[in-house]
Amino acid sequence: MSATTTTAPAGRDSRMDGSERWIQTLRDITGGSAMISVLAVLFALVVGAILIAFTNERVQETAGYFFSRPTDLLRAVWDAVAGAYSALFQGSIYNFRATNFLTAIRPLTETLTFATPLIAAGLGVGLAFRVGMFNIGGRGQMLIAAGAAGWVAFAVELPAGIHLIVAILAGLLGGAIWGGIVGLLKARTGAHEVIVTIMLNFVALYLIQFLLRTPGALQAPGSNNPKTPAMAATAVFPDLFGPRYNLHAGFLTVVAATIFVWWLLSRSNLGFQFRAVGQNPSAARVAGINVKNVYLYAMAISGALVGLAGINQVLGTVTTGFGSGIDAGIGFDAITVALLGRSKPWGIFAAGILFGAFKAGGFAMQAAEGVPIDIVVVVQALIVLFIAAPPLVRAMFHLPTPGTSRKPKIRAVKTRQTNEVVAK
């Protein structure tokens, strides 16, 4: 007993120091300027171009006789890179080769379809960032939300419209609970959210896998596959522009979620408290803000937003029944999206669409030019690298360090004012 009472506080203190440092680093990474985000994307695309050129067979061939006919190599490099990026563009935004506008614009709707869950999950992760927490539990929150929404969608019979709303609410609740557990543990016991979210990912995965193998739970009746039955038509997001496109009404929920998060963070008092705790938890505490409750609410809302991604997967994208891979890694991509969007709602919206475009265009690029889709993954990874290493990007582009560029300016102002006082 005495051992625990003496070691526990000491551990608590060191954790406090550690978490302060952690919050500072988080702030540095998530608080970069928009310029950093844009440059990171551009630079990642340049490195991607180099990789495309290197892996292109024609480039390799022509490199063999570079010194006799260098133009061959340069043309091959140009053809490979331009071809790949043109295919990426045509596969994600606008297809020039299509015969009419309605077909030509289809890639853009594909991009938005892919972007839908990424934006939702990105908003969840970004919100947690703003409160100074790192939510890596996207996978678990998505799976639980998908399970809850999916179960309501195939097992409950309700009139059209109401059925969809109930399914969405069930999913949001599932995500909120799964995220809320993390907030509760952090608030009550001081458990670090990174550890807890990672662990809860596994708990959720195996829970869903178990339910998918249990007849009467999530498993489709009369089947041995770990897969649910198809969603009832009354609970599925309607197509936005008819059956010609995959884009469904789930995109509207994401637009609504973005507006909600914007309101929450910049117009509501709860968001004010969120940001206060995220920036300086001790000042927030002294100002009478209940920091523990803020952690709980923030993680619950974050979990619900990530859950919205899971809901969109099962009620919009894959309505024929899902397995335990339904999260499709979106919970992790969401971290990148939130970083790229600098944890700002509309930034995340834009970043989600960019990543949706990468996904949609990546397939086209592979089909049309034979460029492996992994290049897209590499580009995404490089974006994270460049954002998480702002000093690197700054050094590469000779941008000023935020701290040094600011301080002198203010001090100069201050000095001027003090001089005025003296002059008076």
Binding site: T5, T6, P9, A10, R12, D13, R267, S268, N269, L270, F272, Q273, R275, A276, Q279, N280, S282, A283, A284, R285, V286, A287, G288, I289, N290, T404, S405, R406, K407, P408, K409, I410, R411, A412, V413, K414, T415, Q417, T418, N419, V421, V422
Partner: protein
């Protein structure tokens, strides 16, 4: 060794931190560098210590120009530094700390600690320090730790010693002892640069005084100069060090604290059965050296401490055991000790900081929505009322100067309906102009009939503000004495000795 700085200019971007500063410290001289916080003293010393490279100017030791690439070069050249925050490893012994970074090893890479012990003994004998080389740093009082820093510098054969705000953490008695040590060092030929903003100490010990303001040398003075002369050099205008106040108008006991104890996260009793009353309309100052339980006491009043026993009553209503929110809503205004850590959110705008402790209801919030129009108007009013020098209410608080940051905190706390005002170290790190402003506000608050508690480690501040003074030592109140108690008595009480005639129970 003679130290000479010639035309040192150090810029940070557009800011000129040091502008053509020249300074000569003769061998065996104590040269005081006097200036407000932010005047450029520390920058100058960091240039001297090789931490910064000056754009212009030279450093000369015995008339030889030096080039320092880092602190290592400076140390090898004979410059030692006693930092304000000690650079000691708490779980190491004195001897281990002294050799840290310059460890001598014997065969097989083993530490030669006996040589280190001998060195510590030799130096402490030379100056009459009583220091056990095998004592752990964490067991030593602050004043002794500082001596270890001095020994550490001397063990590197420092001929020029820089003391950076050395008295900030010391009791008056320890300060006096430090002065004697500095004298001894100077007599043995060491040149000393003594950085401070405390006028009394400068006059007590310095041979020569150089005053720095806004990065330039504004004048040299001799120790015979009066406080007022030095202060006006420092701030560029005549300042008053005393606060004008009338006798307190007492309006009955408002805050009553009985047998209050606080146990910290390490299970130590940091506040031990403290009892006092504060009347409406008076200032009770809590004096004492940093770290004697004052911080925990104020935090306990605000509900920020976990394990508190005893009784806290404000206007007859109990406060102990309630949330910070409840206590703030009961009318307690609080200026925290560490304004950048606990008082403000640096990335928030001035307007946002002004509503920080009222984020859950009217007038700043209606139905969950922030009232941005009201907030902007409120901020504009407070910026004008409290003379907060800024570029508007949307400027980030972190970009304000320390004095203006403190004005933001004061504006926020004093704009609520108060029944008790607690100000912890309200003027720490502020320039003289801001100190005057803060003191005036505190006295105005008192005169409006609000009980005020001021916690301060600065004796000048305590004496200037207090109607009564409670002195804390090791978690206990040594005594509560009238505001006009002589400094010598207060100094003895701060070292734990009971006052001859303690006003008990009041």
């Amino acid at each position: 060794m003679k130290l000479e700085l010639r035309g040192i200019t150090k810029r940070f971007g557009a800011l000129v931190a040091n502008n053509n500063i020249s300074l000569t410290v003769e061998s065996g001289e104590i040269h005081a560098l006097l200036g407000e916080n932010g005047a450029g003293k520390s920058t100058l010393m960091n240039v001297l210590y090789g931490l910064y490279n000056a754009e212009e100017g030279d450093i000369l030791l015995d008339d030889v120009v030096q080039k320092f690439a880092g602190p290592g070069d400076a140390m090898n050249a004979g410059i030692g530094m006693v930092h304000q925050h000690f650079m000691l490893v708490p779980v190491f012994t004195v001897a281990e700390n002294v050799v840290l970074g310059h460890e001598q090893t014997t065969f097989g890479g083993r530490l030669d600690l006996s040589a280190a012990r001998a060195k510590v003994r030799e130096i402490s004998d030379r100056f009459g320090f009583d220091i056990d080389p095998d004592a752990l740093i964490e067991d030593l009082p602050v004043g002794v730790q500082q001596r270890v820093e001095i020994i550490k510098a001397l063990s590197q054969d420092a001929k020029v010693l820089v003391f950076d705000e050395p008295t900030a953490v010391l009791t008056p008695q320890e300060t006096d002892e430090l002065m004697i040590i500095m004298r001894q060092l100077a007599e043995s030929g060491t040149s000393i640069v003594f950085i401070t903003h405390k006028l009394r100490e400068v006059r007590a010990v310095a041979d020569r005084i150089t005053v720095i303001r806004l990065g330039t040398v504004v004048g040299e003075a001799s120790p015979t100069a009066t406080n007022a002369e030095l202060a006006s050099l420092m701030v560029g205008r005549a300042v008053e060090l005393t606060v004008h106040k009338n006798a307190p108008e007492l309006r009955g006991t408002a805050l009553s604290v009985k047998n209050l104890s606080v146990i910290d996260s390490r299970n130590q009793i940091v506040v031990n059965s403290v009892s006092f009353d504060v009347q409406a309309g008076e200032v009770l100052a809590i004096a004492g050296v940093q770290g004697n339980g004052q911080t925990e006491l104020t935090e306990a009043l605000l509900g920020l401490q976990q394990h508190v026993t005893g009784l806290i009553e404000l206007d007859g209503k109990p406060l102990r055991g309630y949330s910070v929110r409840h206590i703030l809503d009961s009318g307690v205004g609080f200026v925290p000790e560490d304004r950048t850590e606990d008082g403000l959110i640096a990335d928030f705008s001035i307007a946002e900081n002004l509503m920080l402790d009222r984020s859950s209801g009217a007038p700043f919030v209606k139905a969950g929505n922030l009232q941005l129009g009201f907030r902007a108007q409120f901020a504009a009013e407070k910026i004008a009322e409290f003379d907060i020098r800024s570029q508007g209410s949307e400027m980030e608080a972190g970009r304000l100067s320390g004095g203006n940051q403190q004005k933001v905190v004061l504006a926020r706390e004093l704009s609520r309906e108060l029944r008790l005002f607690v100000a912890a170290q309200p003027t720490r790190g502020l320039d003289v102009g801001s100190i005057e402003f803060v003191h005036t506000r505190i006295i105005e608050t008192r005169d409006s009939g609000i009980p005020v508690i001021v916690v301060s480690t600065e004796l000048d501040e305590v004496v200037a503000l207090a109607d009564r003074i409670a002195v804390m030592y090791r978690g206990e109140i040594v005594g509560i004495v009238p505001g006009n108690t002589p400094r010598a008595t207060l100094g003895l009480m701060m070292a734990g000795e009971h006052a001859p005639a303690t006003e008990s129970g009041l």
